[in-house]
Symmetry: C2
Subunit: 446 residues, 2 copies
């Protein structure tokens, strides 16, 4: 039997205001009871701290706006693209959208597509981004983005695996590991989840973890160019990482979502530039920060033919099963836009867009340097990582917000080793970046 | 240490031809070894039978084409839409796509959207489909489609739960339950997975399971109008289903992807027409079969505020966490198209499109009836369920394919209770439906 509980008391304990107002407008009166299921909650989700980083930042931003209604907020916070999608790419997308209203166009790509992505797009991605390495179109799975792919990768692996992440790191690696059951509880003393290895990336080690002393783990998440530190790993470092994974029998999940921002020739643009990486690494990538597709949703994941589980079975076979069972292909209009990105004109326009954001990054980097701060990143990535040694990063975030109405991201939100830093995102209109620089100089030069 | 294995022998055992050719083109020679990780394969994925239903059908179709290169195949197989997206909806989508190339348009919906969907679209869905019930926009999560939502729902529940499905049923319910670890092994004797309850839906029980004798389970999947049987459950039946779930403390996953096809006034168009359903049911729905969005990807899931786990915590809170962590919102262009679907002009065009497919269904239904077969469905759903008592459904499928070059779907592919039936899909161009009718009459009247 379902258990009964009072709606009013339940509303208060679980939803605050909303529960109460819902109770009032419900066909049940405030004092009537509603039924509870007897289905147990997933204990792994219970382990997650209540807030995700960016909603918390949004809350604080709104608080600031309420207190200062005239404040003109500039966001260097969440890494969200601001510039329009370049015209050659929009043209491809518009043509595809129009085509869906015609028999011919609908017949071509209107119905269910392959869950792995349209063949010509897989070919085009292989040709555009992997022609210098041994990665074939058959190993490329087109998707609605990297964050979603990370969720599906976790579903494929399932529980019972040990995990390592860089610290600081993009929150989704840890959160999805928690959800799938590959971590212990959150530990308030360490600000970390138990039973997951955080590999510190600090200025002291050049933001590359101390691989030699790292414990073996089944799954290793690694992001380069890194979000949030902006550090791009060199060929030498990645060779070491691949060798470590191979020696340990680990599978590397390599997040290359910012690869196009790399300008240092010593930094590979794909993990498959490292010999043998096709035996250890899955690579996720995305058009989000390449062509402004954060809202359009298009990415891809490479699962090499040679990557196997301990029983010798192919990881690719299981990933294909997950994609076929839990996914139905990226939106056909987004895939058309992706095709346009890979064309010569589209690719050039994408590089121009990236160059724009990179110049923003340089402007921010110089500003913080001139102000005498410790500055990292910003040359091979759209993120600038600014050090405030000895300070609490949420305090620095709050000080910058109240003093300049600029939103940054506190480094501690990416993991304990991010303490003492804030991340400034280079995604923004140029005039806002320049205005931010003026405000920062005004404030910190006082 | 990674284990070594010979590429050539491994290629043969796991990939057939492809592994060998890959070995040949690899920078490693055929006799060189590659490394295997020590990461164990997810045993749950290992439980899945090798093939998904529709790829197997595609294989047989291709086999038929190879043997009969001149055959003009007509597909009544996979339920995939064929008609162009109606113009008022295309217009909305094209305008949005063009807008993404402008500062204004990009500023509005270009960047990251809410993972739960754009506010105005959630409002529009609530207004268009739920204004007659007590479902609010805040309980609606916009997504890239029902199949994907079912995967995310499974991720939310996690393992350790008992599951019931209708038999026959859409394969994704069972397959995702297997993947998340809520079933036993596949049992060759029963053609079912162990430890999951298959509730038989037969002509004998009017395609509504014998609820009274069903065992209690945590999660109950139910699809109405049903894919594949075409049966729509009545208010009386659904009242019984909700009462059973409430009595058992179960959570009902109600798949309403074909609700717009219902014409019987005794059949609710949403589960929330049943009083108390908001305490037991999650409802998934989709624009795929409403407006031809199978390739565009847009759907939604309702998780009511009042639905709770056994500890009293809200299911909605956890589903929101899954959506925020493993998803990044449906494509903004698809959401714009969804907004157009909910406009008066768009909605009318959608109803016209549905009427077209419904007339197809009627044509097919009459054809099979005239041929003297036992026919179900086809009036409240785009599927006709045709009985061939005593016959093996794969044999019937093969006979129809070889005799008429028409692809159907064998009922057994949806579960053991589908044995003796084939499903004919009403999605198709009218001329193909009429041609199919001619061929079927020619063949079966012989």
């Amino acid at each position: 039997m379902m258990m009964m509980s009072s709606l009013s008391s339940r509303g208060v304990s679980h939803t605050g205001g909303r529960g109460v107002s819902r109770g009032a407008r419900s066909h049940r009166g405030l004092n009537q009871t509603i039924c509870m299921s007897t289905v147990t909650r997933n204990a792994n989700i219970g382990k997650l701290a209540a807030g995700y980083l960016f909603p918390e930042i949004a809350r604080r931003r709104n608080e600031h706006l309420e207190a200062n209604p005239d404040a003109k907020i500039i966001s260097l916070g969440i890494g969200d693209t601001t510039e329009p999608i370049p015209q050659p790419i929009v043209d491809g997308m518009v043509e595809s959208a129009k085509g869906l209203g015609t028999l011919d166009g609908y017949g071509k790509y209107g119905g269910y597509g392959a869950e792995q992505g349209q063949g010509p797009l897989r070919d085009a991605i292989a040709e555009r981004f992997y022609s210098h390495v041994d990665t074939s179109a058959a190993d490329i799975f087109v998707s609605d983005g990297s964050k979603c792919d990370i969720g599906r990768i976790q579903m494929m692996f399932g529980s019972g695996h040990s995990v390592s992440v860089q610290d600081p790191s993009y929150p989704a690696y840890v959160d999805t590991s928690v959800i799938i059951g590959n971590t212990g509880l959150f530990n308030d003393d360490t600000s970390q989840f138990d039973d997951i290895q955080y590999m510190a990336c600090t200025a002291g080690n050049g933001f590359f973890p101390d691989i030699d002393s790292a414990k073996k783990s089944d799954i290793v998440f690694f992001c380069s160019p890194n979000n949030p530190t902006g550090a791009a790993a060199t060929r030498e470092q990645l060779t070491k990482l691949v060798a470590k994974c191979k020696a340990d029998g680990s599978i590397l999940i390599y997040d290359a979502a910012y690869a196009i921002y790399i300008e240092n020739p010593d930094c590979p643009k794909t993990i498959y530039e490292i010999p043998g990486a096709d035996e250890v690494a899955i690579e996720t990538c995305s058009f989000s920060k390449y062509a402004g597709f954060t809202g359009l949703r298009l990415g891809w994941t490479v699962v090499p033919e040679n990557l196997t589980f301990s029983d010798g079975s192919k990881v690719k076979t299981d990933y294909n099963r997950i994609m076929s069972t839990c996914f139905n292909g990226a939106s056909n209009v987004a895939q058309a836009a992706g095709m346009a990105c890979c064309s010569d004109a589209g690719y050039k326009s994408m590089l121009d867009l990236v160059a724009y954001y990179k110049e923003n990054a340089l402007i921010l980097k110089k500003c913080f340097e001139e102000l005498g701060f410790e500055v990292h990143g910003g040359t091979d990535a759209p993120y600038v990582w600014v050090g405030f040694p000895g300070k609490n990063s949420w305090d620095v975030f709050a000080e910058i917000l109240s003093g300049t109405s600029i939103v940054t991201t506190p480094g501690a939100g990416f993991g304990p080793a991010g303490e003492g830093f804030v991340r400034a995102s280079a995604f923004g209109h140029r005039e806002n970046i320049l205005e931010a620089v003026d405000r920062l100089k005004d404030y910190f030069k006082k």
